[in-house]
């Protein structure tokens, strides 16, 4: 019961947050313009796009959801999605980045492991360390 109340509260919060203008803006951001090549409906500066954006606001004011509006528009203009539908196409850049990071990590850790297996360089003695500090001090004062 408590969970249902929370869900209803959250849903009503979402409903309050999304005004018809916001829904229309979201739709225009997510679909390509049927009038301007290569830009979203939101970014399209043509007059027809302006009319369509206004039509979308009207649709949202009638209570249509984002998905319903997009479906109605695609029925009229054909595919408008601004993101490839194929998961392969959507995920390929992520896969490439992941493979790159893993390959680079493996390469670096392999070489780092080899370096670790080499005999450790001699540790500075307190006297040597004191001399380094002294040299640094002299360098700083000269600088």
């Amino acid at each position: 019961m408590k969970a249902r109340l929370v869900a209803v509260a959250l849903a009503s919060l979402l409903l309050v947050a999304a005004s018809p203008q916001d829904v229309a803006s979201d739709v225009a951001d997510e679909i390509m313009s049927p009038f301007c090549p290569g830009v979203t409906l939101h970014d399209c500066p043509s007059g027809e796009a302006d009319d369509l954006r206004r039509e979308i606001v009207t649709m949202a004011e009638r209570g249509m959801s984002k998905e319903e509006i997009i479906a109605a528009l695609e029925a009229e203009y054909g595919p408008l999605a601004a993101t490839p539908e194929s998961p392969f196409a959507r995920l390929l850049p992520w896969a490439a980045a992941l493979v790159g990071v893993i390959a680079a990590g493996l390469l670096a850790s392999r070489f780092a492991a080899r370096q670790r297996s080499r005999p450790a360089p001699p540790v500075l003695s307190p006297a040597q360390r004191a001399r380094v500090d002294e040299e640094l001090q002299r360098f700083r004062s000269e600088a």
Binding site: Q21, S25, D29, E30, M32, C36, P37, G38, V39, T40, H42, D43, C44, P45, G47, D50, R53, R54, V57, P79, A81, A82, T83, P84, E85, A89, R90, L92, P93, W94, A96, A97, G100, V101, A104, G105, L107, A108, S109, F111, A112, R114, Q115, V123, L124, R129, V132, L136, R140, S141, A143
Partner: protein
Amino acid sequence: MISLASFGRPSLIAALLFAVAGTSLCVAGAVSRRAERTQSGARFLVSAAFFTGAAALSLLGALLAHDFSLDYVARYTSRSLSVAYTFAALWGGMEGSLLFWTVLLTTFAAIALTRVPAATARLTGWAGAVLGVVALFFLALLAGPADPFTRLGAVPPDGNGLNPLLQSPGMLIHPPLLYAGFVGFSIPFAFALSALLTGRLDDSWFTATRRWTLLAWSSLSIGIVLGGAWAYTELGWGGYWAWDPVENASFMPWLTATAFLHSVVIQEKRRMFKVWNVVLILLTYVLAVFGTFLTRSGILSSIHTFTEGDTGKWFLPFLAVMLLGGLGVVATRLDALRSENRFDSLLSRESAFLLNNVLFVAAAFTVLWGTIFPIVNEALTGVRVSVGPPFYNSVFIPLGLVLLALTGLGPLVSWRRMRPGALSGLVRLPAAAAASVALLLVATGVRSAGAVAAFSLCAFTFTAIAAEFARGGRVYRRAGAPWPQAVAAATARNRRRYGGYVVHLGVVLIVIGFAGAAFRVERQDLLRIGESMAVGEYTLVYRGVETDTTPEKDIVQANLLVEREGEPVAMLRPQRNVHRAQRQAQSEVAIRTTPVDDLYVVVTSFDSDGAAAVRAFVNPLTWWIWAGAVVMAAGMALILGGRRAQPTVAPAPSVRETVAVRP
């Protein structure tokens, strides 16, 4: 009377012949290792530059003289076009832009080949040959399918005029800067190939061309930002970047070039990543030419591509030769390109640079994939689709945030290896700054996770950079200098390093501007005179309409009083103009800009009764994008103003390394 345009085509033919001779002599000089042949070749290429410049001056003269017997002049200018935009028409059309590209290419080649440092003189032959081949390709295009000097049978009384969208002050410098960037990368590309062909694979090829690389990168960076500013002020959709194919064409080489600028530091300091570096510069130049192909082939639709003509088809074989030829040469030299050092630890600056490089290249791949996906999909399924901002943003926002974190973290990590304890000591302050900003934002009601992450990482990186300046200045501070002088002295002592930090500061400011978009407010309404609309904290009151006429256009202007909390703060006057020569309507945006937010208003149409269709946006923090670009430019100037780079020797461990490896 002989017109200036009469000299254009003969000049191009002369340039082509000189380029053939120059390229042949450079090849002969490189193969026979005879410097005098190479020098003669370079001199011929200088002559090719001279005649290409003469052809460009000839076209410019024809443009300014309104010589409409030339097809190019008639298509891109008109008698009413101002002198400045008539000048800009030189690169406003496809043929002129290719001629301008070739002028830059041959001029850069002439300068680079005749001012080669003695240490890299042996690279001149093959570098000249590569630059000559590239110049030959473009000159052949200009002499053939992209001839800017084609005559019209009947001379029209007036021209079509320049596209109204291109009639913006930004277009006077944005395309030249982009082209200078693209073409500038041809110099390191040519010297890298020359290093591979000659087997001289030390760091001389990139130290000799470092300034070219930096200049090209700086030019491309500023060009891209100016392109964003042009889109913001001219296109009227309230944003500055739409992931349009033309924007992508400039962004791809910028990403790989940025990776190269970071990666080359590893080769310089540690003699590592040699193969990676030559591949990166190869990719950068190929992507620059690929962008030129995309915008001229007509295979992709964009509001600012040159789709007329069939010039694009010539680019594909050229690109294939450059890419496959380049990679082939790299493959033959893999043994000689082996790293002289290895990773000592995963926690090292080398690793940070490697991650940075992988992410930049992944980002470039994302842009490439999104740009060509419509073509790939159409070829495979027959369905033409578009890829827009939601796809790119879904990848770029997370990648960008990791890169921003690395921008702050990278300089804190020492070369070779570092103890986690030493790093955590250095990270404490920036992390505290980031956490404070995150808490503050959440406490003030910000719920956008992306914005909280972006602002927090900006605080992290800003504090890390500021701490680096403070560490550098502390030495001089101990000697009694006040803080400003101490920091200035540290900066002057190592301009490259601190200039890089200033560039990173600029990046932080730009990201602040990007993150502000999370709070953008937008409203659209049809206003009758006297009506008002609210957008964010502003109210726009439509006071009336005015009309005017200039030689080029008919202007209709809305007068909108801007009020905030009931008080008038500004009068904005967006316009809807009709350019007569092109019979094209265009909106002129009105913007009230402050560091806090931009009120951006555009009128998309007027009704006969004066009612105005108004789109209004409140764009928070956009001002910081342009401020960040200025800071970036200052950082680049700081780096470029330093001493010329000399080949370096493998470094002794730095002070921080010595401290870091203490038991």
